[in-house]
Symmetry: C2
Subunit: 140 residues, 2 copies
């Protein structure tokens, strides 16, 4: 997807009005390199070895800040499962009910026609599919 190095992440955060602390850079970097829309716990566990002082509160604070500034999206397919996505371009998510993996897919969400009047101001559009992925359907 993207391939920013440390300095570029720093610049990217600053451009978006976020002071680039070490923790923030590392959390963004991790999101950037993970393709499975990680949960808070996964992010925390992945970084705690390298940043031994890291607090889970910091992960929450940072993710909420990123969302507020619009550089990541929250992905909620099932109610109890909150995931995060650095890819804020127009795309959908598919979750496999068997293995739990979340796949990205392309879709022209912008083009979807609805009966919402023009007086509705739409800020975000999300498309979620659920089912069984190819590798799981082969196994059965």
């Amino acid at each position: 997807m993207k391939n920013l190095k440390m300095d570029n992440i720093r610049d990217y955060l600053m451009t978006n009005d976020i002071k680039p602390s070490y923790q923030r850079i590392r959390i963004y970097e991790y999101l950037m390199n993970s393709y499975d829309h990680p949960r808070v716990d996964e992010i925390y566990k992945a970084l705690i070895d390298e940043i031994p002082t890291l607090s889970k509160t910091t992960v929450y604070n940072t993710l909420n800040l990123f969302i507020e500034k619009g550089i990541i999206h929250m992905v909620t397919i099932e109610g109890t499962e909150v995931r995060y996505d650095v890819d804020i371009s127009d795309h959908g998510h598919f979750k496999c009910d068997v293995c739990g993996k979340v796949y990205d897919f392309k879709a022209d969400i912008v083009e979807i026609e609805t009966n919402l009047g023009e007086s509705f101001i739409i800020n975000q559009k999300d498309l979620f599919f659920r089912g069984i992925c190819p590798s799981c359907s082969v196994k059965n």
Copy 2:
């Protein structure tokens, strides 16, 4: 939307392999007559006066059973907020970020083109929009 009476709900539940206990009938009836995609807590509070012995666990059990049997859908727009919807036809949800209300809207979700191969088995499609609703945008 639908307009089933007591006896019809009973039949409807039985058709879907659900034994129609009093609690299950009343919970389904409440969902049927509410247009705002209620949360568990709202369902519980709405029924506790009429069913004083009602337990919140029963509400959870019942909703999970309904989902399992496919007669309701879980609606998750934001991670921490789980709502339920008896309307299992093809439609989208719009949530107002100001007043929090959830609106239904029509959309041809089935027609959306994606790059998911045919080997993906899709069981459910959901479309979520967020923004500001007409009555809230007028106020500002």
